[in-house]
Subunit: 465 residues, 2 copies
């Protein structure tokens, strides 16, 4: 039931056969959602603000590499395209930390060759778009800027950015997958008692590049995510298929070590030489990249409700933009599609129930993921450089192996399971308290097998719910 | 230094003599701020969206009574008008709780006749306006809706709501005191990396009325704030000078006991008869008020920064709207004026420093006050009906008397002191932990004097920082 059905519905009420879907945003989540909806046989129109990416060069200045993990794969499997994507992904089996002297330490992400996959955002988006457009009933229109959403008349006011022409599109059911600065959410924000927050870290990010070696070889370990943890800031690098790595510097806007403090090529070169010496020799275009690439900001967006009546639903970054430090932004958005698809299986076209259940189930989980993402920034830029922290991770891994099914490290629950994020976060906090009690008794990996440590672990596991 | 001074400043740089101030909003904070600025001898223009309240009847549908407490009085004293206002305020020395059977219990707010004062919002606003307009250099213009703030050119676009004429006002320094839905904040929200949240309670409020008795007498205890605590909801009443009380029902929007559940006059009458029987007999216009008065929403707004360069500063609800349950919304806004005035004393016309110091000092305190306000809702609607809670308050009062200067109840710190809100909140949490440890040993007021309780208290006080 829509509040305004009598005013706005086309002649004759919407029957199953006439269900039409509009998706605002042809990014990763919008394209995947189009695939999910089109599989049900109904027409889908996808509207995208930007020009067709397939007509331009690579997308610059945005996060170029993404880390696909289990929740993402599951969503891709749901439309039968996981294997196709996996062929262009590079598995990363763990973190490799680089200290200032260039010494390396490593930490596996999971067990038994579990990996997250480095994929190109632009490439993945193009593939999803092509698969969606190939489905009967799917139409994608680019260069369509959403100027306004009239919730009462269910009308989108769109500007064709190529021609400047403004026109209206009446929607029957609108999915807002238009990202962290969503225009569809903008309309919901104007409704009564709308809860909304946007919160920025005092850090920005800058994408840089490590060049490919001779013959397209990788100059660092290919199958890893590289981290240069430096306490209050860090750089990371993810491998590309061509032998290069895409680096991202996460750095304060202000302060002694900050974007504000690096104003000249000499300052940039000297700073990188001092703090990332083993990387800088592999970055011939460092200074050029640093000054040409934009500085991105890091925002967390929370809002509620996500649905307006049964007319409009927000998904992905539009409803829960998070910072990138857990590699879960895209995975969470893809999981939205999985959850929505399950609800469509369960409730058919009872969109009132589907939309309400979707936001009821999903909101606590994306809130937890937002917290986890901020939390992981500290871990990555600081704690991974601490030998005690790395020892604790190894001990956790031993507990997990000794008590199968009774202990899954937080990172594994988030990355390699479908456990709802809020449950993972709660379980992770409980396990962390146990580790706080155990670690004072453990000073090396070998200590784990000492009888007194074994009995402490056994007691904790007995008490663990 | 303004970023755009060369582009936007009038011919000749701003000297002390040419300092001009613009205040958006002639509500409580805007009017008081005008007084503070005008005392320094510079021209102040105040622009207000609404018509001149002195030309209309009383303002309907908004919170009609307010509770002035120490922070508010201090700000009024700063411009020499506290005594004038106090003459029209009614001191409330404590809470009187009404149970369903009509039994009363009471709890003093402080010691030695400390009181909060019930004042009329509309009356206070008019008085402040008249005092401000009487100052040389102050000009107040009403019916001026702010359509846009151009931060680059420092221009306000205003619509005269009486004539519909649109015109521009160039400002030199703009103070946004235009409330929870501030148009000035709307401009700041569009700047890069702006932190913003609006969060609504799932409760609304409705203003109702207890009639005056014969000859303008008060039908309930005059010098008290009355509460009908009912667990998940409550009604309160504050005295008016004419013998009536203004009641406010704080009530869920949805659920078994909610605004949604009361749709007919019979339902309203029956519900009030059941849960507020001793009040309903004093409310002859209950049903009429219930359906005619609007249902207000309860929002908390947080944002940062409050300043844009040294051109614009937000104050009062525009930067920190809070829910009303601690009676601190106006008091916090008035304290903004006190703090700003101290900074003007300290830094003269170095507005860059003044604006930065203001938001640096003030933001943690208004954040704490926002949390306290939500926290106090639970106390008022639920805990004040619990004899154990009231006993704890009495014991706290005894500790405070026995250890002068070492223990001030949280309510007193917030209401009867100038302790920064964040410090008050931290001290209150520490004291609450102490009470959690003491109360299991205390079952009556007399228990406090038992030697074992005295020694427990002494040990706690010795350990207390």
């Amino acid at each position: 039931m829509t509040l305004f059905s009598s005013a706005a519905a086309p002649a004759g009420s919407a029957s199953a056969a006439s269900e039409r879907y509009t998706i605002m945003g042809a990014g990763l989540v919008g394209s995947l959602l189009a695939l999910y909806l089109a599989r049900r046989g109904y027409p889908v129109k996808v509207l995208e603000r930007r020009p067709d990416p397939r007509l331009a060069g690579p997308i610059e200045g945005r996060s170029i590499n993404l880390a696909l993990s289990d929740r993402g794969w599951r969503a891709l499997e749901g439309v039968g395209i996981a294997e196709q994507i996996r062929q262009v992904g590079i598995p990363m089996y763990g973190r490799v930390m680089h200290d200032v002297a260039g010494n390396l330490t490593s930490q596996p992400y999971g067990q038994n060759n579990q990996a997250i996959y480095s994929v190109s955002r632009a490439g993945l988006n193009r593939t999803l778009l092509e698969l969606a457009e190939a489905m009967p009933g799917v139409e994608v229109q680019f260069s369509q800027q959403c100027l306004n959403v009239d919730l009462r008349t269910r009308t989108l006011e769109l500007r064709n950015t190529a021609t400047n022409e403004v026109h209206n599109h009446e929607f029957q059911r609108l999915f807002g997958a238009d990202g962290a600065f969503s225009a569809v959410r903008g309309a919901l924000q104007k409704t009564d008692r709308y809860n909304y927050s946007q919160s920025y870290l005092e850090y920005g990010y800058k994408e840089l590049n490590i060049a490919a070696g001779p013959g397209g070889t990788w100059q660092l370990e290919k199958n890893a995510l590289h981290i240069w943890p430096r306490g209050q800031y860090m750089m990371i690098a993810l491998p590309n298929l061509d032998g290069s790595f895409t680096c991202t510097l996460f750095f304060p806007y202000e302060g002694p070590h900050s974007f504000a403090a690096l104003q000249t090529p000499e300052q940039v070169q000297a700073f990188f030489q001092e703090v990332f010496p083993d990387a800088v020799s592999l970055m011939p275009e460092l200074v050029e990249d640093f000054f040409q690439n934009p500085t991105g900001s890091l925002v967390t967006v929370r809002c509620f409700p996500w649905a307006f009546d049964d007319d409009v639903l927000l998904l992905g970054d539009a409803s829960h933009a998070i910072v990138p430090f857990y590699g879960q932004g895209m995975n969470a958005g893809f999981e939205d599609c999985t959850v929505l698809n399950q609800l469509m299986d369960q409730y058919g076209q009872d969109w009132h129930t589907i939309f309400r259940e979707f936001q009821r189930q999903r909101k606590p989980n994306t809130d937890a993921m937002a917290d986890l993402a901020v939390y992981n920034f500290e871990e990555m830029r600081d704690r991974v450089a601490d030998p005690r922290f790395l020892l604790q991770k190894k001990i956790e891994s031993k507990i997990s192996a000794q008590y199968p099914g009774r202990w899954m490290p937080l990172y594994s629950q988030v990355t390699f399971s479908a456990t709802p994020y809020a449950e993972a976060w709660a379980a992770g906090q409980q396990q962390d308290q146990i580790m706080q009690r155990l670690m004072p008794h453990i000073h090396s990996e070998a200590d784990y097998d000492r009888p007194e440590v074994q009995s402490l672990v056994a007691a904790e596991m007995k008490a663990k719910s």
